[in-house]
């Protein structure tokens, strides 16, 4: 591996959107064209940097790359510490691509300037969260994201937007409250248990600190609550349908596309990586909640009358798969989970865009008030079909790759949970196809003269954006190898780290245990009772 690159690409990924945001805010009000140009320009520059990062990234390397570290608050051992590995790489690129697309795809219906400025600030926060290797830096990025999102939902949303925005803010901040105490406690305790000095450096704490089991579990749960709210994992999900539904279209795209991933990414990076023993110990709980999320999200999505709410609930189901993969803790399952993060970001982001465009054209999202769109707008319908199929997880499109890897990987270590979760795939087909059928099939709506109500086709701009999305969808579906090649080494490194630290072997097939009668349900950690001998075989691929 080469030395650190002199060019601070990671820092720029965070700083460019901030500068863009400030400049956007400073442009005089009378120049909407300049506002748009500056904002879009900085988003595109950030996106270009993220692509450059993709090129710079050393494939096959598991550790953190392009690390840049500068002292920030020396007294507290806090530094500006950024780095990227296979797990965060794709999410960073996704963020870099999704923001300019979302900006191009939909205009704010009023006040362009603050809208774009908030979006850019949001991008900086998200980038910072994905890149930071310092607990303090991560926390403030994770937390600062709430502010622009709050204003975006509250200022440019629909319906009961202030309620939704406030609920979103309060829920997430509630989780963060636990995480902040957890972070400080981690740092203080790590000083006593191996690190020897006050530092918020993630890598050092993960490698040097050895927490006693119960301490580690408490700390893990302090972090996990914050991420569980963000993901959201089943009982903490109630903010999501409101926030997604009332958010402006671009807000929903970003929210579903990258912000939910902060939760799942956090679980991997700050849950599993920092507290391997505790994460392993709590697997039954998280697996169960993940499966409940998959099934519950799908069933509730089926029942929705509002198209956007349907997509929102489908997110809960999809993120259930990611959590399942994360806590199945096999190489394929976590790799699949990471891919699923990206895929869900792309396909659900695209779905939200399409639903947003439907709303712009018809001013309704009620499924019962829309029908027969296919005959008036065939291209629109075709785009919707592809995106929808990707979201269902049809082979050949991106959704399949992630879900398949998750299910295959999880089957090794968490068999019965996987069996139940797999029905979620069928349910996904059910709610999406049914919704598609009601909205797009049949005779089109007619106005009072009996003429079909107009429904504009995709405009050139919308078509271009959609082409971008569909390109990613198809490429990933057909040829996922480049992505997997980049993700897997880091995932393997993570699993090795977990096994070393927690002194466990992870990919224990549950076969041995499930055969025993009276051991139904979720309460037991499988790894404890089964032989490590059978374990190592299934683990590496």
């Amino acid at each position: 591996m080469e030395g650190p690159t002199p060019f601070p690409i990671l820092t720029l990924l965070v700083v460019v959107p901030v500068i863009g945001s400030i400049v956007t805010a400073l442009v005089p009000k009378g120049r909407p064209d300049v506002v748009k140009l500056v904002a879009l320009g900085s988003a595109i520059v950030t996106g270009a940097f993220s692509l450059w990062l993709l090129a710079e990234f050393e494939t096959g390397e598991g550790g953190f790359q392009l690390v840049s570290q500068h002292q920030w608050i020396e007294r507290w051992g806090i530094s500006w510490h950024l780095g990227v590995d296979g797990i965060s790489l794709l999410l960073v690129v996704l963020t870099g691509i999704l923001f300019p697309l979302a900006m191009v795809a939909v205009d704010a219906h009023h006040d362009d300037k603050p809208y774009l400025a908030w979006l850019l600030l949001l991008e900086a926060g998200v980038m910072g969260s994905f890149l930071s290797l310092d607990l303090f830096l991560f926390f403030i990025c994770f937390e600062i994201v709430l502010v622009p999102m709050y204003f975006l939902i509250g200022g440019w949303g629909y319906g009961d937007r202030v309620y939704a925005a406030t609920k979103f803010f309060i829920f997430t901040m509630f989780g963060s409250a636990f995480m902040l105490v957890g972070i400080i406690a981690t740092v203080v305790l790590a000083r006593q248990h191996g690190v020897g000095e006050t530092t918020f450096d993630l890598v050092r704490i993960a490698n040097e600190a050895t927490f006693p089991a119960s301490t580690g579990r408490w700390l893990f749960f302090a972090f996990a609550i914050a991420f569980a709210v963000k993901v959201p994992i089943f009982p903490l999900h109630t903010w999501l349908p409101d926030a997604h539904t009332q958010a402006p279209t671009a807000g929903s795209v970003i929210l579903a596309g990258v912000m939910l991933k902060l939760g799942t990414y956090g679980l991997l990076r700050f849950g599993v990586y920092l507290f391997p023993e505790a994460a392993d110990w709590s697997r039954p709980l998280f697996l169960t909640l993940a499966v409940i999320g998959v099934i519950y999200g799908a069933i509730v999505a089926t029942m929705q009358r509002d198209l956007k709410r349907l997509v929102a609930y489908s997110s809960i189901a999809h993120l259930g798969f990611i959590v399942l993969g994360t806590f199945a803790m096999t190489s394929q399952a976590i790799t699949g989970g990471v891919l699923q993060m990206v895929n869900h970001g792309v396909s659900t982001g695209a779905l939200f865009l399409l639903v947003g465009w439907i709303y712009e054209r018809r001013h309704t999202r009620e499924i019962s008030e829309l029908k027969g769109l296919q005959s008036v707008a065939p291209i629109f319908a075709a785009a919707f079909t592809v995106v929808m199929l990707s979201s269902i997880g049809v082979p050949g499109l991106n959704g399949f790759v992630g879900e398949y890897l998750v299910l295959v990987g999880s089957f090794l270590s968490a068999r019965w949970w996987t069996v139940v979760a797999a029905t979620g795939v069928i349910l996904a087909a059910l709610y999406l196809l049914w919704a598609y059928q009601r909205v797009f099939h049949g005779p089109p709506d007619t106005d009072e003269h009996g003429e079909p109500k107009p429904f504009a086709e995709l405009t050139a701009r919308e078509g271009l954006v959609m082409a971008g999305f569909i390109g990613i969808i198809v490429f990933t579906g057909v040829y996922p190898k480049p992505l997997i090649d980049r993700v897997q080494p880091s995932v393997d490194a993570l699993i090795t780290h977990v096994e070393d630290k927690a002194d466990i072997t992870i990919a224990t097939p549950t076969v041995v245990e499930v055969d025993e009668p009276g051991d139904g349900g979720e309460g037991e950690g499988e790894h404890e009772s089964s032989e490590p001998a059978g374990a190592a075989t299934a683990e590496d691929q």
Partner: protein, 526 residues
């Protein structure tokens, strides 16, 4: 009695023949002298001369405050180079903590004076008395922050409080203001009585009112059990008095009424100078003077802290008047500061009292700036609505005046503890001090309460940005009609608001230097 030269009572006896008075370190006392001197100048010259041109009274106040703050900064190096000392026969402490408090108070005073100047000029009552009272109150606050003797502390407390009572009632045209003055006076007098009786009991138990001598007596003599009751009762009464002054639950009931009734700039003085001084005195008395009894007062601080953060944030949410909201939020802030004190309590009286005291010092200066800034914006908004400060008067502020709304947003987010503001670093400091001392429960409770509190600040922000104007005030083209007048921000107030925003954000991004400064304050004189 005469041997106890620490008290000012002894100073009064200076004239007696043969009595050796304590040395007076004039330079060390200079911030205090500047503040008192300026107030005398204002009172005497103001009374003898015709009305001064606009802004001159405030100008004198600002100059005095800046001079006092600058002098305190000059003394900083003297202290850090040597070791903390005491002044005037151990009556006042000369340590970095006292300087920190002095600087915080002076900074707040500058802000309050600038805002008041505009407000009073507008209502045509630009008189020197108000500013003289400001300066006296600030001098009282400085004495409280440095007092190393309970009687001196009481003098500082009364000096500040009496000025506050008058200031609360200073808007003679509004009955609310009169009401606030009376309420504050009666309840404040009551709490002072508790406080004084606590001092008396403590003196009875220990034989001295000087903090240093109290500690010395604990260090050398293990108190007999019989004295304990007397002493503990004294500590309890002292804490009642303090809890009233810092507005900690359950001694907070006066706060909303007084905050709402008093003229807005004066309210900001209560919230900043009043709270800073009271907290500083509380910290010094408990951590320095009563460190040996930390096991007894620590649970009390715990309860006060938890009750304050919770009751403050919950009751704030149901208010409809912004000044009342901010009153409750100031109760919450008192709670956070007490969280830091609880952390300091774990090692009170030891040579290294941990991260608690520095976290409080940092919190005080950050809070003083944020809260004066917030009230400055509130004062401007109220001014354009005939003094109304209910939530509705903030409606559509973002459209009428984006810059003002932006400043308000920064201050409120800072109060909520959002990253990249000084409020976040301050909150992080006290929480991290608590966690370091393994007070996990109080840290968690404080953080959860801060979420409830965040709801309150969001409500104000929502009204400022997202609630559209009443439909009839918006013309077809979207421009705002019917608002009373075009909002202009007076220069002085605008200058202060800009400076406060800059400080809040700058410290939020680069807090290292201020943390380093605050960290020195752990070394308290005694």
């Amino acid at each position: 009695m005469m041997a106890r030269t620490g008290s000012l009572l002894a100073q009064a006896g200076l004239a007696q023949a043969g009595f050796e008075g304590p040395d007076v370190e004039w330079f060390a006392l200079s911030p205090l002298i500047v503040l008192v001197g300026a107030s005398l100048v204002l009172l005497v010259l103001g009374a003898l001369t015709p009305t001064w041109p606009r802004g001159w009274y405030a100008g004198v106040t600002v100059v005095a405050a800046v001079a006092a703050g600058a002098l305190a900064m000059f003394q900083w190096d003297d202290i850090t180079d040597g070791s903390p000392a005491t002044l005037v026969g151990r009556a006042l402490a000369f340590d970095t903590f006292a300087q920190f408090v002095t600087i915080s108070i002076c900074a707040a005073l500058v802000g309050v004076a600038l805002v008041t100047s505009d407000a009073l000029h507008r209502s045509g009552r630009d008189d020197p008395e108000t500013y003289a009272l400001f300066l006296v109150a600030a001098a009282g606050g400085v004495v409280m922050g440095a007092a190393n003797d309970l009687v001196v502390l009481f003098l500082g407390l009364e000096t500040m409080s009496l000025a506050f009572y008058v200031l609360a009632a200073s808007d003679r045209r509004r009955t609310q203001s009169q009401e606030a003055g009376i309420k504050y006076f009666i309840l404040g007098g009551f709490s002072s009585a508790f406080f004084l009786y606590g001092i008396a009991l403590l003196y009875g138990a220990v034989g001295s009112t000087n903090l240093g001598e109290i500690v010395d007596s604990f260090d050398t003599v293990v108190p007999a059990q019989a004295d304990d009751a007397l002493l503990l009762a004294g500590v309890a009464l002292l804490m009642v008095g303090f809890a009233f002054k810092v507005a900690a639950v359950p001694f907070h009931v006066w706060t909303p009424d007084v905050y709402q009734g008093a003229p807005t700039p004066v309210t900001s003085l209560f919230a900043s100078v009043g709270k800073v001084a009271a907290v500083a005195a509380l910290v010094r008395v408990l951590v320095v003077g009563l460190g040996h009894y930390r096991d007894d007062w620590q649970p009390v601080v715990w309860v006060l802290a938890v009750a304050s953060v919770f009751v403050g944030s919950v009751l704030a949410v149901v208010q409809t008047n912004v000044k009342r909201m901010l009153a409750y939020s100031s109760i919450t802030h008192a709670g956070y500061i007490l969280v830091g004190l609880e952390a300091a309590a774990h090692r009170a009286g030891e040579a290294d009292s941990g991260a608690g005291v520095p976290s409080i010092a940092f919190y005080l200066i950050a809070y003083a700036v944020i809260v004066t800034g917030t009230f400055a914006v509130v004062a401007l908004v109220a001014r354009n609505n005939e003094g109304a400060t209910d939530l509705d008067s903030f409606r559509g502020l973002g459209q009428r005046h984006p810059a003002l709304a932006l400043a308000l947003t920064v201050f409120l987010l800072a109060q909520a503890g959002v990253p990249f503001t000084s409020g976040f670093i301050a909150k992080f400091g006290v929480i991290s001090a608590a966690v370091t001392e393994r007070s996990y429960a109080i840290a968690l409770i404080a953080m959860v309460a801060s979420v409830i509190g965040a709801f309150l600040y969001l409500r104000i922000i929502v009204f400022a940005w997202m609630q559209d104007e009443e439909p009839d005030t918006i013309a077809a083209d979207g421009s705002v009609l019917g608002t009373t007048e075009s909002v202009t921000i007076p220069f002085a107030t605008g200058l202060f608001i800009a400076a406060a925003v800059a400080f809040t954000l700058f410290v939020g991004v680069l807090p290292g230097w201020l943390l380093d400064a605050a960290d020195v304050t752990v070394d308290l004189a005694r």
